[in-house]
């Protein structure tokens, strides 16, 4: 269809008609809330009796929680790739995807911090990290950069929303009455004056530039939690870029999945077109290729030398206890998707969404492979300890506590996307050639 025929009124109504509380929303939120309550009950058991309710023990001391943390930090990195890297080099087709990417970034970054608390033996001493802060410890760096990245992402989500909210609270009659004052105060008296636009645009630009080092830092530092140790499988110099490229894979897949469901549920076919899915498919294929390159470096080089400690670790991964998981993740979650995505027909909305789901699930298990097997292969033998110290197996309570962050992320994404336009209204109007917004 011809985009230029879209009037401002139609754009406004297309992008805001979903902002209302309906039955589907209530059922979905009810489901999420009940699930979260179950998971929080599991966490309360851990709070009462200690980390022993989880399967982690003295050898595998970092289990699902930490793998999950790495995954969440990874997924949050997509805000940087879409908005900052691709946005700053001027890719115009990204406009309708930027807010989805920022929403995902904010949700995953916010929850990543909570996951770390669930992994603490003494969560009530969280403040000690600041009171007794030791700048030598990568944990302090991680806490600092994740907070920074979260704040930057939140601002980057908010600034483009100012103009949208200014329009909507004046022009959209269907806006729920309780939302109107919220929109009004959050729109900060924006009236589309040139100087206002100038301030916002300049601020966004500064944020985009700041976002790149912040995002690179969060995942590089997260990789250093492992790479600063001398353990086989973690003692690697490519861990920083290996993690960052892997993060883009997970994040791009998450964005494609979100795009698919927003397009379907909020009827955004005119805005999230096949072209967008096609292009995001190309982005996912590209970052997957980069990740594959780092995987080859990460496994082939030590695998060629087979130093003693590395050999034990790699043999378990390639042909031992973890081999099935390893190969399914590497082939099914990386190599095969890349091959499929080379063909245009697999970059249509439905196939690329299905591929993205496979990639995202594999991305989670990839974190499991990075975090857990290394600890089952320490330098000195594991002896005279109970069987569950030797082999890690997650408990039910631990699994529930691991699921909780996913539910939280879904709740955050659902709320943001339900009460704000999923696609930037003001920017879309501009790009369709509508220069001045009619406010009344």
């Amino acid at each position: 269809m011809d985009d230029n025929n879209l009037t401002f009124d139609k754009i406004t109504s297309d992008l805001t008609h979903h902002i209302r509380i309906n039955k589907g929303f209530m059922v979905w939120m009810g489901f999420l809330t009940v699930s979260l309550a179950v998971c929080l009950y599991a966490y309360s058991m851990q709070l009462r009796t200690g980390l022993g309710v989880a399967g982690i023990r003295d050898y595998v001391t970092w289990g699902l929680y930490l793998a999950n943390f790495v995954f969440f930090v990874a997924a949050s990195l997509i805000g940087m790739l879409i908005s900052a890297v691709l946005g700053l080099i001027g890719m115009k087709w990204l406009t309708p995807i930027t807010r989805i990417a920022e929403t995902i970034a904010v949700a995953f970054a916010a929850v990543a911090g909570l996951i770390i608390i669930s992994d603490m033996g003494r969560p009530e001493r969280l403040a000690y990290v600041f009171i007794y802060a030791r700048p030598q410890s990568p944990i302090l760096w991680d806490v600092t950069v994740i907070t920074t990245y979260f704040v930057l992402s939140l601002l980057l989500l908010f600034l483009p929303l100012i103009a949208d909210m200014a329009v909507i609270h004046r022009r959209v009659a269907s806006l729920p009455s309780w939302l109107k004052p919220v929109y009004k105060s959050l729109s900060l008296n924006f009236t589309d004056r040139p100087e206002q636009n100038k301030i916002i645009n300049r601020s966004i630009r500064i944020l985009l530039i700041l976002l790149i080092p912040a995002a690179l830092s969060i995942h590089t530092v997260t990789s250093w939690l492992f790479a600063v140790t001398s353990r086989a499988g973690w003692d690697s110099t490519v861990f920083g870029p290996y993690f960052v490229s892997g993060a883009f894979v997970a994040g791009s897949a998450a964005v494609i999945i979100a795009m698919f469901f927003f397009r379907k549920n909020y009827k955004l076919q005119d805005y999230l077109t096949d072209m967008h899915f096609n292009n995001m498919g190309k982005v996912l294929a590209t970052v997957s290729l980069v990740y594959l390159y780092f995987n080859i470096n990460e496994f082939l080089v030590p695998g060629y030398k087979m130093k003693r400690a590395d050999a034990v670790h790699l043999q378990e991964l390639f042909a031992g206890k973890d081999a099935l998981l390893f190969w399914v993740v590497q082939l099914g979650g990386l190599v095969l998707p890349i091959l499929f995505m080379l063909f245009r027909r697999f970059r249509k909305p439905l196939p690329i969404m299905l591929i993205s789901i496979a990639v995202l699930i594999a991305a989670w298990f990839k974190r499991y492979i990075i975090v857990i097997p290394t600890q089952e292969h320490p330098f000195l033998p594991i002896q005279h300890v109970p069987q569950n110290f030797v082999h890690y197996s997650p408990t039910l309570i631990e699994t529930l506590i691991t699921i909780a962050p996913f539910i939280l992320v879904l709740i955050i994404i659902t709320l943001i996307s339900k009460f704000f336009p999923v696609i930037p209204l003001h920017e879309t109007a501009r790009e369709k050639g509508i220069e001045h917004i009619k406010f009344d």
């Binding site: 003295d58 944990i139 320490p378 300890v385 110290f389």
Partner: protein, 323 residues
């Protein structure tokens, strides 16, 4: 309006009255200062005199840093043994002038596990919690197996201390790496960083926690153990402070352990109580460290398992199936 109240009044008598009132106040102030000064002088003189009371009984004492001093017996006060003070100051400062070192003779270990029992008893540990564990080692398929007691290596370049976000684990000047479980947040980064798997975690309520509730925390013994915090070998810092050998060293029936001070170049065998030169012991027996290539600089040396006094036997596990 009364003229005398205005600053420009030139009434003489009023002026004089005013000036004499000022003088009076001035003198009164001076007198006050004088009295206070006199009283202070008298009081400090009294204190001085009181202090001069001596028994005449002079005692000769050895200070912590090894100096002999002479003090009047009246001035000697017993140091209050305050656990809080201990773990906030002495616990971090260590024992001055010392560089503790351990030598483990692998040719003598028959896996009697007496060291483990003594250690677990002293530190309130469960059977599967080891500060000291004897491992059955075989370096390569062609070489002979041997028993290797393994504890915290008290590295001079400790990876665990480097990564701790809250300074809960720290390196003391006397070489000991300690852990303050009042501070530990339970992130377990130190466990991930330690290449010797020397650290343990209190996953569940520590052994007999109910019995030890309310006991004052002793950082040099790391008891009572606390749920959700790290524990590990402390070189028995509490025993060293009393001038005794560590629990494990003393408990060994097979003369495996030597313990002592690197500064004195002397180590004492825990079983025979024989004291030998550290440098000579290491030189004559080919002493080595565990994984020195990692750059951790351990303070535990091993003597190789040559001319073993006991045949190697497969160890039997006494630990529970699941914890």
């Amino acid at each position: 309006m009364d003229d005398s109240n205005t600053p420009h009044s030139n009434n003489e008598s009023e002026n004089q009255k005013g000036s004499s009132r000022r003088d009076f106040l001035k003198n009164l102030g001076l007198a006050g200062v004088g009295v206070a000064a006199g009283a202070a002088a008298l009081y400090s003189g009294h204190i001085f005199e009181a202090k001069k009371e001596v028994s005449g009984d002079q005692k000769v004492l050895l200070t912590q840093d090894g100096k002999l001093v002479q003090v009047d017996s009246l001035e000697i006060k017993a140091l209050e043994k305050n656990g809080k003070e201990l773990h906030e100051t002495l616990g971090r400062e260590g024992i001055p002038g010392r560089r503790w070192v351990m030598v483990t003779d692998l040719s003598k270990c028959r896996n009697a596990r007496k060291c483990i029992n003594a250690c677990q008893g002293a530190h309130q540990l469960r059977p599967e919690q080891y500060h000291m564990n004897t491992l059955q080692m075989q370096d390569t398929p062609g070489t002979a197996p041997y028993n290797m007691p393994k504890n915290c290596q008290h590295c001079d370049n400790p990876p665990c201390v480097a990564v701790c976000p809250v300074d809960a684990t720290y390196k003391r000047p006397d070489g000991i790496v300690l852990i303050e479980n009042d501070r530990c947040i339970g992130c377990r980064f130190c466990m991930a960083a330690c290449p010797y798997s020397a650290r343990i975690f209190n996953w569940i309520e520590p052994k007999d926690a109910a019995n030890h509730q309310g006991e004052e925390y002793n950082v040099e013994l790391n008891v009572p153990q606390k749920l959700g915090t790290i524990s590990k070998c402390l070189f028995s810092a509490d025993r060293l402070r009393e001038g005794k050998l560590p629990y494990c060293v003393e408990a060994c029936p097979n003369s495996v352990y030597y313990f002592g001070d690197e500064n004195e170049d002397a180590v004492t065998n825990g079983t025979t109580k024989e004291t030998v030169r550290l440098s000579k012991l290491l030189r004559d027996n080919g002493g080595y460290q565990l994984m020195p290539e990692l750059g951790t600089k351990p303070r535990v040396y091993y003597l190789p398992p040559k001319n073993r006094l006991f045949p190697f036997e497969e160890a039997k596990d006494a630990t529970p199936e699941k914890v």
